[in-house]
Amino acid sequence: VITPLRAALGLLAVGGLVAALGFGLSHDPRALPIVVINKIAPQETLRRLGGGRVRVPFAGRPTLLNVWASWCTECKKEHPLLVAAERRFGRRIAFAGLIYQDSVAGARGFLRARDRGPNGSYPNLLDPGSRAAIDYGVYGVPETFFIDRRGVIRAKVVGRMSWQTLEQGLAAISR
């Protein structure tokens, strides 16, 4: 016998199942959450290509930190964008590269081919053991962090940036 209570319970069970399936199927299980937004960026003092040590984020200046590697195809496509952006916004915003799981020779070769010389046009930092990358919660390359003058991460882009996403990130830290 189908009583109203049984009908309601049945509808509830089927509805719940459909909702759960709908949620599961409409969400990418491999999509990575970004949890570092509005958190203080870790302070890292790292050796740069070409010598010397650099502390990121830069004190009192908005910082763009781009994580890259010479073995990363998307980084190769992205790099000219960063060089152009640094030329245009470099006076207001400090650019830095974080070299991820790469050799010095590999990184130099990458920069020699697509930047001004083997050390690049802005500091490119070595990160032995990926310690700094893990401090920043890096999943892979390329990834770009936009850090404001107070040292707070305001935006993060996973994957290759377009000029538009780059400008949006810079706008978030220019205030």
């Binding site: 959450p33 949890v35 958190k39 799981q101 990926s130 310690r131 893990i134 999943y139």
Partner: protein
Amino acid sequence: MKPAAILLLTLLTLTLAPAAAASDRKDSGPLEQRVERVSQGLRCPVCQSLSVWDSPSQVSEAMRMRIRDLARRGESDAQIRAYFVARYGDWILLSPPRHGIALAVWLAPLLILLAGAAAATATVSGWRRRARALAAVDGAALAAGRAQLAELEQRRLP
């Protein structure tokens, strides 16, 4: 060889073999055991459903190094896990956390089990009630039938 000696030898082999195998592994001091324990609960960011302990990727190797560093600095397992959660979110944990919306994942099986038990109890008690009611009806009908029969028989007799 006497059967008792064979038995003793077999037992000795069975108890000592795993210990010998374990000592073959690289450094298995308390620090490495902690690295193993914590990294088994963390998801490798570049793999499909593999823990940081099981993954041979470079990023997992770097994460194991970071766990080792933090453990050497005196951080507890919970603090080390919190370090990774702060950077990668709850996603980094292989088992969902026991708070917030993820708590539902832990409670759902229990709730479903309880609901099933309640439904089964309700159904069985319904059957028993109906059976009792039917038995009562049958008894009454039987008594009435017997009375009718007795009356008919009496009427038939001269």
